[in-house]
């Protein structure tokens, strides 16, 4: 009894001290997080502000985070020129096809490989995964695309990367962990074929993972441009990111400018900012609504089976 009360008395001051310290450190932590978060937003706000400011304001370096003399001339030139809008439509088409094909192939791999009794399961897993760990490299792949007749076609952006072993792994661990074996057995007892099980049981239950992986595929395709740089020389077949890289980053022979075709009303600075925003806005607008699916996917990927 005595001992306990002594303990409690001893605890009290330290508890109070603890709370005070917590308040200060809470504030510090919140501040650090705030600063880090700002580094992820402010740069984009700055570019956005630039893109709708007047040329004189940007040239006199007076635009920070808030636009000056707001106008949409730069965006008007982008739409008038049409290169970027065309490329946007084309990239959407490529992304949709890529995601569709990628998901079909991924499901065809993940469902059989998630079934425990499947003979040859580890062989097939290894066969599909091996390419992830040992790639033939740029030149052999280039020659392969060439002999498949895919160079300078849209399909070179759609087909070769459409199956991702990593996404297959995520889907497989999802299926293994969420669909109990008893469900498969019940389906089997009811005389369902594997196809029926896939369509009636597995697919309806995997809606969340299908959403997540579709987003992984779509974002991956939307952002990638290395393969376009390797395999495509026809301007009309280059995806948006590649066009953006040629417009904003490149100063060499492959540099493209809008101003040749568009009525030049904006300086390169403003026009470039508008170009960057044009390519960034689709992602930023969709992002808040879909990011929770990504986070789920990252978690499943982390606990891989």
């Amino acid at each position: 009894m005595q001992n306990t009360s002594k303990l409690v008395q001893e605890k009290k001051p330290s508890l109070w001290k603890g709370i005070n310290r917590v308040r200060v450190s809470d504030f510090v932590i919140a501040l650090v997080i705030l600063l880090l978060s700002l580094t992820c937003i402010l740069p984009f706000i700055h570019v956005a502000a630039k893109s709708i400011s007047s040329n004189t304001a940007v040239l006199s370096k007076a635009v920070y985070l808030w636009p000056k003399d707001i106008n949409l001339d730069a965006y008007a030139s982008i739409f008038k020129d049409g290169q970027l809008t065309y490329s946007m439509g084309y990239t959407v088409l490529v992304t949709v096809l890529f995601t569709l094909i990628g998901m079909i192939v991924t499901i065809c791999a993940a469902y059989p490989l998630s079934i425990k009794g499947l003979k040859g399961r580890s062989f097939f897993s290894f066969f599909l995964m091996f390419t992830m760990y040992f790639s033939a490299g740029l030149i052999p792949e280039y020659l392969l695309m060439s002999s498949l007749g895919l160079l300078n076609t849209m399909w070179v952006l759609v087909l070769p990367l459409a199956f991702s072993p990593y996404n297959m792994l995520i889907m497989r661990s999802f299926l293994v962990s969420t669909i109990p074996e008893s469900l498969y057995e019940a389906a089997k007892l009811d005389g369902a074929s594997h196809f029926q099980t896939l369509f009636k049981i597995v697919l309806p239950l995997s809606k969340p993972i299908i959403a997540t992986l579709s987003l992984f595929y779509a974002v991956g395709r939307w952002n990638a441009y290395a393969d376009a740089k390797y395999y495509i020389t026809t301007k009309a077949l280059q995806p948006l990111q590649y066009l953006l890289s040629n417009m904003v980053l490149s100063s060499g022979s492959d540099a493209i400018s809008l101003s040749e075709n568009a009525a030049v009303v904006s300086t390169p600075e403003v026009l470039q900012a508008a170009t960057i925003m044009f390519a960034t806005l689709p992602i930023i607008m969709v992002y808040p609504f879909v990011q929770k699916y990504f986070v789920k996917g990252a978690m499943i990927g982390a606990v891989k089976g």
Binding site: L118, L138, P140, A302
Partner: protein
């Protein structure tokens, strides 16, 4: 023994026949990805023989002579290759050294954050850079870091801290720092998810016990949280070590310019410039093969180490 085998064989075959009749649909499904990887991935492996030939695109595989290890001997004496290899290793190790602890620290901070709504919003914001392409990140970086017109330089000049704009992206040492920090920045939020997941899995009783023992916040992080996520940390560290031979062409390409070539020239750039741009197919293939093989060995090695340490393997 022999008799037993004879008896067993027909039975086994019949069992397999039944098994296949029941499960052919699964194998039919599997054929789709299998054929897919054969056509688009495995079919590229025979092309690796270019590394041992003096390959001329006009002559094709049949017309080009075999040269054995000659191409490899050449690349190991090639100054450009030395530079690319040195840069790749140096930058990948630096990426790892800075990029590995930051997500852990961020996850600890996020976990300690008391205001749930604020936490959620800041997480959403912090994950954003992971979803933007390197082209967009590099383009935005130009708007911030150009010596004359970049926002950071303008602000620092206005504040009177500097006279001349700092060449963040056009002088090699500045470039190296900017390149590395932007890489860390791009990945920190996304990388923290995995640690936050691990932290969520820690038994709350451990914290209660620590509180009763009089542990403060930092003591709890040090003595409960960190030891509990050690496994995740080790696995990720080893996994990343397995990748030090890899390279991200898009990141290098997006940040590349003539002034920083000295450091930006890494294996991916070497292969692209010698191979596709310079049509020196044999040499680029040999370097690609070298990169793939050492990469594979590193992954296998790290998997082995990881299992030795009692953590989950990677494969």
């Amino acid at each position: 023994m022999a008799q037993k085998a004879v008896i067993n064989r027909p039975g086994k075959r019949r069992v397999f026949g039944v098994y296949f009749r029941n499960n052919w649909q699964l194998y039919l499904l599997l054929m789709i990805p299998v054929i897919f990887v054969i056509i688009f991935k495995y079919a590229a492996y025979p092309g690796l023989r270019i590394a041992f030939m003096n390959y001329k695109p006009a002559k094709g595989f049949d017309g080009s002579p075999w040269v054995g290890w000659q191409t490899f001997e050449k690349i190991f004496r090639d100054k450009d290759f030395h530079r690319a290899l040195r840069n790749s290793l140096a930058f990948n190790f630096l990426d790892l050294a800075i990029g590995f602890p930051v997500p852990i620290i961020l996850a600890l901070l996020l976990n300690e954050l008391r205001f749930p709504r604020y936490k959620k919003i800041s997480q959403t914001v912090l994950y954003l850079p992971h979803f933007l392409s390197w082209v967009i990140i590099a383009s935005v970086a130009l708007n911030l870091f150009k010596p004359e017109t970049g926002l950071i330089n303008i602000l620092m000049k206005n504040a009177g801290w500097i006279e001349e704009g700092i060449p963040f992206l056009t002088e090699k040492w500045h470039w190296a720092v900017t390149y590395l920090l932007l890489g860390v920045w791009q990945n920190m939020g996304w990388g923290s998810i995995i640690y936050l997941a691990a932290i969520t899995g820690i038994d709350a009783e451990l914290y209660e016990a620590a509180t009763i023992d009089g542990a403060g916040r930092w003591r709890k992080i040090w003595s409960v949280t960190l030891p509990c996520i050690r496994g995740t940390m080790v696995t990720l560290l080893i996994m990343n070590l397995g990748r030090v031979m890899g390279s991200n062409f898009e990141r290098l390409d997006a940040f590349g310019n003539v002034q920083v070539k000295e450091f930006q020239y890494q294996l991916a750039i070497y292969i692209y410039e010698k191979g596709l741009a310079g049509a020196n197919f044999s040499r680029a293939t040999a370097v690609g093969l070298f990169q793939s093989l050492t990469g594979l060995l590193l992954v296998l090695g790290s998997d082995w180490v990881s299992k030795k340490l009692g953590e989950d393997g990677l494969l």
